[in-house]
Symmetry: C2
Subunit: 214 residues, 2 copies
């Protein structure tokens, strides 16, 4: 499977690219914005697409045309301004969905954030961030694409444990970015995750087994 | 017809309230956020609902329960921060649509902005503003409500002329806020505007006649 990773240079994205390259039968196409990012991935033997997510749907669709799946891990992270949150987390995500459709790619996996499907759990400090994630998720659910929406808890840089807890609704918890990436790759290989949206935190169950409970 | 005006204290909202009160057979319910705004409208004999648009859908639905139509004219105006744009122009609008549905109100008229249905016409200086308006409009089109989406050009405080130009796509032009308000009230009385989304600028055609061409 050829997988276009949008946001490949991000903290989760880099894990996703590496895990896809390490897996058998998958190839990553790292979508990046800057020449130096492109060079870095190419040195690692990773195929790249130089595309600005704030550009046109057509340029994103062009990057997706050799892909069998799109993984959207781009995100302003909640620490940039609200303007970038709208243009990346909301509009960038929606453009990517439309681009996938234009390119005939059915499979689409997005990284959202825990609890954003409940307005009363939106971040007090940055409700616009939760709103942007939520509306992108809703758009995807209505897109007709074969979607998986992963809503991880608080992201850490701890090494992955390979074990998680997943459910439609979970209380707050943390999870290593590496485990989020592993769950993305496992979802690509598990058609049972199609049409599913779920919270995910660190847990006691192997990722592959956890995804089977959805 | 009882009409809930969300954003009643705004520049367009105040014109809408006045025109509805002057019309025969309609009554305004001015939804406002502050006690002093409520007092001001009540002094003018206008019914009010004291509701924070950044609050719950239920409180908005409660304000809508005696209404036959909802007019959404609230807006951060593109001059506040992007965070408020997301929470008012996008999330506030969508919550109002959900509230209308909860309250059993079918008719919903929203004030959008010229050209936002074309990404290449989004404001360079504030694309997040155009994005927020656009996604609220798309949500409304898919809501199942009896919608009208009015996308006026550059708003002025000139006195209304009662004459406009309307079409799905128009080049940029200006229009007095008073004429936007008049078009809202005329749309309430014209079922032909249901399910229509259109640009509107100042023109040569009487508002009532212009709306019939849609």
């Amino acid at each position: 499977m050829n997988v276009l990773i949008i946001g490949a240079n991000g903290q989760i994205g880099q894990h996703v690219v590496r895990k896809i390259q390490e897996s058998s039968g998958h190839n990553a196409i790292a979508m990046v914005r800057k020449e130096e990012q492109k060079a870095k991935f190419e040195e690692q033997g990773v195929k790249t697409a130089l595309v600005d997510l704030e550009g046109s749907i057509e340029t994103i669709a062009n990057a997706a045309k050799e892909a069998d799946a799109v993984v959207f891990t781009a995100g302003s992270g909640g620490h940039t301004g609200a303007d970038k949150t709208v243009m990346i987390d909301l509009d960038g995500a929606i453009k990517s969905m439309e681009a996938a459709k234009q390119a005939g790619v059915k499979r689409f996996i997005i990284v959202s954030a825990i609890g954003v499907h409940h307005r009363d759990r939106w971040m007090n400090s940055a409700p616009y961030y939760s709103a942007a994630k939520h509306y992108a998720d809703v758009w995807l659910e209505k897109s007709g694409l074969d979607y998986t929406i992963i809503r991880p808890g608080g992201l850490t840089n701890e090494p992955g444990t390979g074990k998680v807890k997943v459910a439609v609704d979970l209380g707050y918890g943390k999870i290593p970015r590496e485990d989020v990436a592993a769950a993305i790759v496992a979802s690509l290989e598990n058609s049972q995750t199609i049409g599913k949206s779920f919270d995910m935190i660190g847990g006691e169950t192997l990722i592959e087994d956890a995804l089977k409970t959805l």
